[in-house]
């Protein structure tokens, strides 16, 4: 009876299956990695229950965005440091190494290190067509990029900015307009703390916008074919330009309002923060403005430049499937030249170096390695103790050192004088003295201790011949 009286819901055109449904579910999925991170606590080494990994992940994204501009930003190390400090607070009795590990887990989790920094992928049901289909959303949250100064910094993706700001289903342009309208009204009602918060999200919007345009330009410079310059990009640029003009106007107005508050004495401590924020926002808009103005020129130039560029396109090449695996499956004679070629190409240009004699000697003294039978010898230890193979007993070295130390006087001593001294102490050390003097003639260590010069005097000695070198301290000769 109940069944008969319960009206059925109409199943055609269900009101919840519209564009907004897809947008919302996609927004929801983008928080997935944070929940996965939280859920992974149970699998970690040790009890991680005191730590809120979701919260730490949000702080991480927050920190990254705070430091983000058109360029530069926070490094992974800085973010880890901040997270570790917060983790430590939530579990003060735990060892600091653990909070370090927690921080590390959060940052690597957001970078998706586990999947080699590829995008996170999540699937969902999409009923917006006529039938159900499984769809996939792929996104990143944090990325590491190279800053112009060569440092490696973190960048939050558009998705992460949206996640952080919480405006999950909004066009960035609308979101910015909304944020500033709210800000203006808050200012009028004197709610400055709230206004600081709103200004902060307005600034994030500016950053996000700039990053998007920057990326289009970078891609254009690299390969114009990858960018839709026929309709998509010009539309984006035109909108952005109109939008920025409008924003600059609004922000000028906001700054005037805050300054007024200052002069009337109504401004609290947050007014200064607010003013700073809006000014920063304005700077970012102006930078973006310049970027947009140059965009058209960039496009025309790149079109000219790339028209004749014939490049073999490796963009569709899956390195693992199409290069590594086939190579591993090839006979050695086929794989070898290809693998070598790859090595040479990837190594970058190597400026030829003039041969130095000392390098050559080093090379010549290297034990021969390799050969087809190398594997057989692979397990042998590389170093064998041959016992004491030193040519001179330790005592001789000591005496030679003493004798040579005598030469370290201003003006130095003749080799013949040193030999006389050595013979009196221990006749066996004379050879060592001669070799040391020769070594000092062309020292290899830096800085050399002794220096020898040949001033033409001949050595008169029963054992040795050659020049009677003048040996002295390296600095004075």
């Amino acid at each position: 009876m109940v069944d008969a009286t319960t009206p059925r819901l109409p199943i055609t055109d269900p009101p919840w299956v519209d564009d907004s449904f897809v947008r919302r579910i996609r927004a929801l999925l983008r928080t997935g990695p944070l929940h996965e991170l939280e859920a992974s606590k149970a699998l970690r080494d040790g009890d991680w229950s005191p730590y809120d990994l979701r919260g730490l992940a949000l702080v991480a994204i927050d920190t990254v965005i705070d430091h983000m501009g058109l360029e530069f930003g926070a490094t992974a190390g800085q973010v880890r440091q901040r997270l570790a400090a917060l983790a430590q607070q939530s579990a003060p009795d735990r060892p600091p190494e653990e909070s370090q590990r927690v921080a590390e887990a959060v940052v690597t989790g957001l970078l998706n290190d586990r999947r080699r920094r590829e995008a996170f992928t999540m699937t969902y049901s999409d009923w917006s067509g006529r039938s159900h289909r499984r769809a996939e959303v792929a996104f990143k949250l944090l990325e590491e990029i190279e800053a112009p100064d060569g440092s490696i910094v973190l960048r939050a993706t558009d998705e992460a900015v949206n996640l952080f700001v919480g405006a999950l289903d909004r066009d960035i342009q609308d979101a910015q307009t909304a944020a500033e309208a709210i800000l203006a009204s808050q200012l009028r009602r004197g709610r400055l703390d709230q206004a600081v918060h709103t200004a902060r999200s307005a600034r994030l919007r500016s950053i996000q916008f700039a990053a998007r345009v920057q990326r289009v330009l970078d891609t254009t410079r690299h390969d114009i074919r990858q960018v839709d310059w026929s309709s998509g990009v010009p539309d984006l640029l035109a909108h952005a330009l109109a939008h920025i003009d409008e924003r600059l106007e609004v922000e000028r107005h906001l700054i005037a309002t805050v300054r007024e508050l200052f002069s009337s004495g109504d401004a609290g401590p947050s007014a200064a923060t607010l003013l700073e924020l809006i000014e920063d926002c304005q700077v970012r808009h102006l930078e973006l403005h310049a970027l947009l103005l140059s965009a058209r020129t960039t496009f025309l130039e790149e079109q000219e430049r790339q028209r004749f560029a014939v490049s073999v396109d490796s963009r569709a090449l899956e390195l693992g499937e199409q290069l590594l695996q086939p190579l591993l499956g090839q006979p050695r004679m086929v794989a070898r030249p290809v693998a070598e070629r790859f090595l040479q190409a990837v190594a970058g240009p190597t400026p030829p170096r003039p041969v130095r004699l000392t390098d050559l000697v080093e090379v010549l003294f290297q034990p021969r390695r390799g050969g087809e039978d190398e594997d057989l010898a692979d397990d042998d230890p590389e170093l064998i103790d041959l016992g004491d193979d030193s040519r001179y007993p330790p005592g001789a070295w000591q005496i030679a050192d003493e004798v040579l130390a005598a030469a370290e006087v201003p003006g130095g001593l003749r080799l013949s004088e040193l030999l006389d001294m050595a013979r009196r102490l221990d006749p066996q050390t004379t050879e060592l003295i001669v070799l040391s003097a020769l070594h000092a003639y062309a020292p290899e260590e830096t800085p050399p201790r002794l220096r020898a010069i040949d001033d033409g005097h001949a050595l008169r000695d029963p054992e040795f011949g050659g020049g009677d070198l003048l040996v002295g301290p390296a600095a004075s000769t």
Binding site: G150, A316, R332, A339, D378
Partner: protein
């Protein structure tokens, strides 16, 4: 467009000179930044740079504000890395393994074709890359079954057998990685990339963890991967055309490239991007395909 002066040759060469010092950045060298800017704005100057590079046996792969100019050595150029300079006294087997390892580092770091065009920094560790290549070899071993390779012709033995035979690690008295183990070779490869300014050391975790810089990605994408792929396809085509007289079935191209899904993806490379005649990857890949 401005008329070029004789002094511009100096400026263009200077830019190339900066490219040969990959650790230099425009941000820290004002003249470098100036030259990069000029390169981006002045078409005549750009041509000049390219001609000078060409004369020296260099190829300009990329010029960007942040990373500066990225160069590569043309084949046979005096700037090309000689394998003897990569590491002294390498045997033929060692050279193959070192080459494979470099392919492995790139394949591990850029798992999808899309990741070759991203601009984020990728990270890989010695242990991960070693395990990745080894896993690739093991899957080939599984497919090959228990059939033993002929021992009288070592050169027809597949590369994966060589890799698997080499130990990944070995105990050394001082706890360091043995230099002729695959792990030692991977480590060496990464360190070479670091000294060439293509990677930086991130941590000591996993036998050494490294970040691969944009320059490295550009080199892989614009030159190394394409060249190697083209040569591989040529070699396979050649091998399979002489197949009639060959004796080892496993050298056939169908076995190596695989019929399953790889044929279609290699075709995609060809059709999607390259319709022009000369250098097309597509040509090679379809040649490889036809001979299957």
């Amino acid at each position: 467009m401005t008329e070029l002066q004789v002094t511009d040759a100096g400026a263009a060469s200077q830019l190339i000179g900066y490219g040969l010092q990959p650790r230099l950045r425009p941000a820290s060298t004002p003249l470098y930044a100036q030259l990069v800017e000029r390169h981006q704005g002045d078409v005549a100057f750009r041509d000049l740079v390219e001609h000078i590079a060409d004369g020296l046996g260099l190829v300009v792969l990329d010029v960007a504000g942040a990373s500066g100019i990225t160069l590569a050595a043309a084949e046979g150029s005096p700037f090309e890395l000689r394998l003897a300079d990569y590491r002294a006294n390498l045997s033929a087997d060692d050279r193959l393994l070192h080459g494979l390892i470099h392919v492995g580092i790139a394949a591990y770091s850029y798992p999808t074709s899309a990741s070759l065009t991203d601009d984020d920094v990728r990270q890989a560790s010695v242990a991960e890359v070693e395990a990745f290549i080894r896993a690739g070899c093991l899957s080939l071993q599984e497919r090959a079954g228990t059939a033993d390779p002929s021992t009288d012709q070592p050169e027809t033995e597949q590369a994966w057998r060589l890799y698997l035979r080499r130990q990944s690690t070995r105990d050394t008295a001082d706890g360091r990685v043995g230099i002729s183990t695959t792990t030692g070779m991977v480590k060496y490869a990464f360190e070479r990339l670091v000294s060439a300014g293509l990677a930086t050391r991130a941590s000591d975790a996993d036998g050494g963890t490294y970040r691969l810089l944009g320059r490295y990605r550009i080199g892989v994408r614009e030159l190394a991967a394409t060249t190697a792929y083209r040569e591989l396809m040529d070699a396979i085509a050649e091998t399979s055309s002489s197949e009639a007289v060959g004796h080892d079935h496993q050298t056939s191209s169908s076995e190596a490239v695989g019929h399953d899904h790889q044929t279609s993806s290699s075709e995609a490379v060809g059709h999607e991007h390259q319709t022009s005649s000369s250098e097309a990857v597509g040509q090679q890949s379809s040649t490889g395909h036809d001979t299957d």
